[in-house]
């Protein structure tokens, strides 16, 4: 079980969190984006071998949505959320 750093609660067990998936690029403007680009944004989720930015919801804690950089090979959290946001 991973230990995820919450900017408000400190390091907490993964079981307190709900996985929110990898962070996607910002949502394109649906009024101007092409069908192809829109479909790609909707369906293509980053899945690298190595560090990936992903979101977690501290649902059984303070309720914050946070993002971390996690190495998919080792589970190492290479970048924790910014406490000052």
């Amino acid at each position: 079980m991973m230990q995820i750093p919450c900017p408000f609660c400190g390091p907490r067990n993964e079981s307190e969190f709900s996985f929110g998936g990898p962070v996607k690029p910002p949502r394109p403007d649906p009024l101007t984006v092409s069908d192809e680009d829109w479909t790609a944004w909707l369906t293509q989720v980053p899945n690298p071998l190595g560090p990936v930015q992903e979101q977690w919801w501290h649902v059984r804690g303070c309720g914050t949505w946070l993002s971390i950089w996690r190495d998919t090979r080792t589970h190492e959290i290479v970048e924790a959320p910014d406490d000052g946001r």
Binding site: M1, R27, L42, Q55, T74
Partner: protein, 972 residues
Amino acid sequence: MTAGNRLATGGRIDRSRPLNFTFNGKPYTGFQGDTLASALLANGVRLTARSFKYHRPRGIVGAGVEEPATLVELMGADASGNRPATTVPLTEGLAAKAVNCWPSLEFDVGAVNQLASRFIPAGFYYKTFKWPNWHLYERPIRKAAGLAAAPSEPPATGHYETRYGHCDVLIAGAGPAGLMAALTAARAGLRVMIADEGCEAGGSLLSRRLTIGGADAMNWVAQAVAELAALPNVTHLQNATVWGYREHNYLMVTERAPANPSLLERTWRMRAGHVITATGAIERGLVFGNNDRPGVMLASAVQTYVNRYGVTPGKRAVIFTNNTSAYAVAANLAAAGVEVRAIVDSRDSVPDDARAMVPGIEIMAGKLVTEAQGARQLRGVAVAAKTGGSARIISCDLLAMSGGWNPTVHLWSQSRSTLRYDEPLATFLPDTPAQAVSAAGAANGALTLQDALRSGAEAAAQITGAQSPEIPDAPDLLYDIEPLWRVETTKGRAFLDLQNDVTVDDIHLALREGYSNVEHVKRYTTGGMGFDQGKTGNINIIGTVALAQGLAMEQVGTTTFRAPYTPVSFGAIGGLREETVALPYRHTPITDWNLAQGAFMYEAGARWRRPGYFPRAGEGLQEATNRECRAVRFGVGVYDGSPLGTFELKGRDVGRFLDYLYSNVMSSLKPGHGRYGLMLSDDGLIMDDGVCFRLDEHRWIISTSTGHADAINGYMEEMLQTRFPGWNVFITTVTSQWNNATICGPKAREVMAALGTDIDLSPESFPFMSYRDGTVAGLPARVVRVSFTGELSFEVNVAPRHMRDLWAKVMEAGQPFGILPVGSEASHVLRVEKGFLSLGHEVDGTVDAYDLGMGWAMSKKKPDYLGKRAVQIRREGAAPRRELVGVIPEPDRQIPEGAPLTPGGRKERTEGFVTACVWSVVHEKWVGLALLEDGHARHGETAHVRLKGGEVIPVRVTAPCHYDPDGEKLRS
């Protein structure tokens, strides 16, 4: 009192406390401090098991968790299966039996498999039992290979527990290195947990006769344990195995005999700042013909039985070794009065200090044991030169073998830390750590006592940053080894994995058949896949593969070490989470009332317990449901709508937030009014439906379906926190802050009036889709005019503390009108009659609002909202859409939910399916809903349901709404 294999003195058993036990029904006696294995050996029981596949006679081989041969089933209060006899502490009245033999251990019918062994090589299951399918053979084979069954009942008393724990340093193993590490870390003030799988601290020192600081090494152990016990920052567990090492230094530790007598076992889920694996080393066996005969044992196990338990496992012993550690075993055996007939050493030269330990014992250097003789018991061994030639037979009843030592790297490897092959030690050693972990002692290749002590101290000193303490003098024989992976000039079957009956021939067969990767060899032969996970044999398998392929050990590599290190009971993993505690139900305050009414309760989404229906005497589901439906359609009914997800949203930006979440416009609502809406995900799927009411300028309340409340909550928070962090919106879950009784039916207004309220109930001043705050039956209430049944409805919301009171008053006021409580079954019928959709029935991942005839909910005015673009793109495609229709079976009969519709009822690709079919109390016949290709254009046509088996039911296609299509009733 016991047979003659027990020494008169010595060992760590209490001869004043005899214990009675039975094995295979025969009574025996042992002592406090014995294991089942040591007690059996003390009683002269040599034949203790039959092997898994060939049913060969087997005895006790090891002395601890490495035991590959003797598994037992415990009976009575301790019932459990497949326990190595070496890890079962002896207790008064213990009853054990051998597994895997029928009708008895001495006469085992399955032993005929030995004669057929030519026909059951590795992989024979895969090759033979294919036709017509494996399951035809599975039962008899599992019986023949029968390990012990799982106990039929959980233990009658006591329970399991899991708890979380934190420490600065977790030390696995309380041998010399572990204790030294614990002392060093604890003295520096770190929070230390030290856990050891044995009943007593000391590790290898319990079995060996060594000194530390000039005194018996066990004195040093006792002092160390006492010092640790006095320190408040130390948790010391014995009989507790660290069996799992996960990411972020999360480890599983199971205590098998916690101090609390009501606990059977306790699992600690530990988060450790640093881990020290001081897990010791396990001796390898040697591989020669019939090396599985009862009487062939690991040298270290023989040493343990002699020194720790005061048991001599034989009268005349031969030692077979490729390293120096077995010389101490020979010396200990000789001191215990056992005749050591020879030491067969595969090395050509034996170090002088080793020779000096065994004066008077014949050393046969450069020789090999090529075969063990005897059937049910060892009678002698054949010894020959490495180069071959004639063998000399030495009669003996005990062969102590040592193939060298494998550092116990299981935990280290589970942490994903790497291994390297070490030539001088001829084994794999810890290399690069992947987490905050270090290895110490024999587990790190420090195979002599003083090295082990120093290694433990240094590992801890590195964490504390302090100087490594001084190490007491602890003389030990230098370790020297020359690898011998197998005896190549052997006769008879040479076993690598005793537990799974894997021989050298099996490995060679696997290699011939192309399974050259060590992971494939393992799976094809099942070598190393038993309960012992190949603790004594795996490295020999790797060596055998290396020899056959002409590769270096490092090139072959190890198989992956996985948790658990030793078997763990399911109870210890689950802890207190039994039955409903594992996933608790949610209840409303009316649950007791429902139960008192005899309601049939079940789960209706998100673990809510709801009444399905309220049967009266003699009624089944259908009769009760019909009665409840009639009450709502022709009189009045009431249901508890509390579980519906409810959220209050506050802030300046709620309007535009809801416009973004819902497909229709919400921001135009006037305070006091509400609207039904759909929530789509950005890929255009319908996520949820519900109603949204505006309380005032900046306060709103929305409802979601019961099952989706938690997910929608997370989704809304995600949107706010990640996509619109600047928006002023606050979400509060109020599902459990509002409870409601929903009074519905033509007589609902009369019941409301009878309850007494200060709210004007006339449809002119209190129209459909609006709400009023006021009092109902003297209770502060919010009354909402929504309808999920299609009838005039008043949803009376009160605080949970008033819910029972309200409910009782509703039942009382409604009695003159014949009010009935309504369960989920009737609610389902009523919504199907109205053509109201239900997520999971009419809505799946393919359906959009247009298909449901709800295109009006897809705002044209709003330039953007979640799902708009995706639905647009999907509707531009040419594929036919499945659209929601009503269906009326002709002839009148029920259709199972989910039944497919096919063109003309032919056996062709389906063109839709029936989503629901209910008995309509209004029409007095079966009506249903379906998703049908181009359904909207096919009203009035006949479609065809095709059931499994080919039966065809024609259905008339209609509009989805079977009742009051203009909504006059619900607006009344």
